[in-house]
Amino acid sequence: MSQSILDLCQSGVRAALRFGATDAEVYGQSAETTSATIEKHDLLMAKAQRETAFGIRAFVGGRLGFTSTNDVADLERACREAVVLAQASPADPGNVLPETQTIAPVAGLYDPAAEQYTTDRVVEQAIEMLRIAESVDRRVVLGDAEFVSKRSERAVANTRGLGASERTSLFLYSALATAKDGDRVSNMDYQFGATRSVGEIDVEPIVRRASRNALDSLGAEPCGASFRGPIVLSPQAVEALLVGLILYQVNARNAVRRQSRWGDCLGRKVAAPSLTLVDDGRRAGAVAASSFDREGTPHAPVTILEGGVLASLLHNAYSAAALSQHNTAHAIGSAQTIPAIGPTNLAILPGATSRDDLIAEIRQGLLVTRFSGNVDPVSGDFSGVAKGAQLIADGRVARPVSGTLIAGNVFECLETLSGISQEVETIASLTLPYVRVEGVSVTAA
């Protein structure tokens, strides 16, 4: 490609203006991805992909149209179509571009050594994951695993004078393990790791953890009796059960949509005092760090919940304008989607109690490693299977249990949350502790 992505974005902005837009934004991204996949405990395939795509937002007054193309030669047509779509739509006063701000670059997003990370090295890493699983225990099977090396460039330009671009490198690795011992088959366990730097690639911890968790769930038996009581959630279960619902409530777009229960709760208590939730798109070394969001607004740290009190919603330009609140730079999405809202590097701050002490205070309860189920983000009702679960009896982890259902309401769980561990785990861009909640229905299959 002779022109840079940013040059092409800027030429797209000029084209949109020529076709009748009153404002316009063009977001471009290009990526080179190499991956190797393990399936059924064997190398399945290596893949190489190159792609470039552009997303165009054309504004005509408060009217908005969006188009996307992955063909540079099609960019001008896509700009014209975005204007046509805008002209056909009713106006919405929230359709605005963000205020242009100076962007301070975040260091460490791109490792030049990634350019030497060729297909054979990607394949080597995948094979290394197999070797590690086998070294843990011969009963472990890597059903699915993947190593991905990705180099990207993204750029955004708009009619308010914004023109920014950034290169990133990213290595992603995941492992899904089960353990087989004769006729006994464990629950599967899935672990994920990521880094931006070649020197920090380390597939071993995630493969070992997935393998150990799978082995620990071998020989699980039904729970026995049903009861209502406390459960301790692993960081992975915290993500599945609590974080998704919290993010739905603090997504300001859902407040605009009148779908968030916390839309008008700023400054009010919405959870137990021990819960503090922060997000930082600039955190050094974190995998979701970047200098600016999908709309070109520079990232900054945000406290979302402080001691259980709602301190901030997450905004992009649309929701900030619609609710007359500060834009927190949480526009997310690709060149093929209109900017949405989402977190960057999200963390629940650790508590003062150890994981073992959270368990020691329970007479009858459940330790949930993974939650596979349904959380209704509107009502808060949840119901699903506690995977890789361990029964807690008289303050100790007693035995693995299978086929156990848990049900309750997440809003109630956030209020009755009775403990947060000192220990935290990093799951991609999330940093989460173990959490104990009360009054959950546990149904034995």
């Binding site: 399936e39 059924k40 064997d42 190398l43 399945l44 395939m45 290596a46 893949k47 190489a48 992909q49 190159r50 792609e51 908005l64 969006f66 188009t67 996307s68 193309t69 992955n70 063909d71 896509a78 179509e81 046509v84 779509l85 805008a86 056909a88 739509s89 009713p90 919405d92 297909t119 394949v123 099977v141 059903g143 089960t178 087989k180 088959v185 209502r228 949509r257 009148r258 779908q259 093929q336 209109i338 596979s372 189920g373 349904n374 209704d376 983000p377 509107v378 009502s379 009702d381 949840f382 119901s383 699903g384 299977v385 086929g403 259902l405 049900a407 229905s441 546990v442 149904t443 299959a445």
Partner: protein, 464 residues
């Protein structure tokens, strides 16, 4: 483009597959009276797959010049050769098949492009307004129209050369109701393979609105179910979900080879003899099911595959690689969502054949149980056929009569044990024809359905 792809494939040293795809998607979302999105996304490219030294390599490109395409083939070949030393179980056979040649148009008399942007926008605006007007308890409403139109050219070095067109529109309605601080979400969707009038022949927008509003408003005062294992009647949508999610994935041959519960069970009884289950690239009983496709992404002409015949497991779902491994014919289940995805084994339209019972008779035999309808947002199943699904609408059955609504019901269990417990199969049939997609590393538009059935399973609920 087709001639160029044929020439490159013919000159390839190794088995080579080239798949050009041009996709146009349009989405219109109206929420609370405003246009939330009006989008048009166009993407095109070629995926190249090469089998060299017993290993597949894959590469994709958006450079559609001859040089760009040859570079993609070379990259795929290089990826295969690089992997060869590490591959333990090499692909030493590749099943022959009836490979497609010719043009495969969309089965519709009413193409989507015959309807203007303004007409589609007006319908979405009008439908969303209907939701808000339906009840004073509705606090948020949305209507979304989506369409995916594909043109594919598929060429393989062993003879496939097919020019395939596809069209999959869908419509979704969402309602959120609030009362005394309690909130509830209701939604309904419709999706087809076909054109504009095919979409609304399946369900009208009035029906979608009525259903979504009822599902949002009615649960506001409803209790949660009591947990336990009980007799239930499943509607065609949940029957389809059970077929697809909990059984279907366990008979995908790549999953079988990975150690699924169905391994070595061909010819064995795995379900009640009342159960016959199939997967088809066609749309039997009712046209325009979402997963309909004439040719798969390896160029194999699709048909109907009987998976379970009167309770006995008869077949897995195959691509050309797994068909060769098992010594059977490919079933036409290799699918890729976009050009940059490599084809993998996927379902199409998966269903249970209708039985002999009047639907009303299914309820008569239940003293205490539930009538379960529709799928609520999330679900999951393992390769051991253990599943968990949220239920969109659950009502108590008391002495054969359907009564009180309960909220937040979840069902779980082992799908084969559920199918063993089937003691009555209705004589009705419906596809789900929904707007969703199946995920297996990449998306696939699929459909599922069947008749009403009566069986036993576990419901998650509140313990006191």
């Amino acid at each position: 483009m087709q001639q160029l792809l044929e020439r490159i494939a013919a000159e390839a040293e190794d088995w080579t597959e080239l798949r050009f795809q041009a996709r146009q998607t349009r989405t219109l979302t109206i929420r609370n009276g405003l246009v939330e999105s009006s989008t048009s996304v166009r993407l095109q490219g070629v995926g190249a797959r090469v089998l060299a030294l017993g290993v597949f390599g894959f590469a994709s490109t958006t450079d559609l010049t001859e040089r760009g395409l040859r570079a993609a083939v070379a990259a795929a070949r290089s990826a295969a050769r690089t992997s060869a030393a590490a591959k333990r179980d090499r692909v030493d056979r590749f099943a022959s098949a009836s490979l497609a040649r010719g043009v495969f148009p969309v089965d519709t008399r009413d193409p989507l492009d015959a309807h203007s942007l303004e007409e589609k926008l007006a319908l979405a605006l009008e439908t969303e307004a209907q939701v808000r007007a339906a009840s004073a308890k509705i606090v948020s409403a949305a209507a979304t129209y989506d369409e995916i139109q594909d043109e594919k050219i598929l060429v393989t070095s062993d003879g496939a050369s097919a020019h395939i067109f596809d069209s999959k529109p869908s419509f979704r309605v969402l309602a959120i109701a609030r009362e005394s601080g309690d909130q509830s979400l209701g939604y309904d969707t419709v999706g087809v393979t076909g054109g504009w009038s095919d979409l609304f022949a399946a369900r009208t927008t009035d029906e979608l609105v009525d259903h979504a509003v009822r599902l949002a408003v009615d649960p506001l005062s409803a209790p949660q179910p009591e947990g336990g294992t009980v007799p239930v009647v499943l509607d065609p949508e949940l029957v389809g979900l059970l077929c697809h999610e909990a059984i279907g994935h366990t008979v995908e041959a790549d999953i079988v080879l990975g150690g699924a519960v169905t391994a070595d069970k061909i010819g064995q009884r795995v379900a009640s003899e009342l159960v016959t289950m199939c997967d088809s690239g066609l749309s039997p009983y009712d046209p325009h099911a979402v997963g309909t496709l004439p040719v798969d992404d390896e160029g194999v002409v699709t048909g109907r595959t009987v998976l379970i015949e009167r309770g006995v497991l008869r077949s897995y779902l195959h691509n050309r690689e797994t068909a060769a491994h098992y010594g059977v014919a490919p079933t036409g289940n290799a699918r890729a969502f976009v050009y940059s995805d490599n084809p993998i084994i996927r379902m199409r339209n998966t269903y249970i054949e209708p039985g002999e019972h009047e639907v009303g008779a299914l309820f008569a035999g239940i003293r205490r149980g539930y009538y379960l309808r529709g799928f609520a947002m999330s679900g999951q199943a393992d390769s051991n056929a253990e599943f968990m699904f949220g239920v969109r609408e659950a009502r108590r059955i008391v002495d054969g009569h359907v009564g009180q609504l309960v909220r937040g019901a979840t069902i779980s269990g082992n799908a084969f044990r559920v199918l063993e417990s089937v003691d009555a199969v209705g004589n009705d049939f419906a596809w789900e024809k929904g707007a969703g997609a199946c995920g297996k590393g990449q998306a696939a538009k699929v459909d599922a359905g069947g008749p009403h059935i009566r069986c036993t399973l576990t419901i998650g609920g509140r313990q006191e």
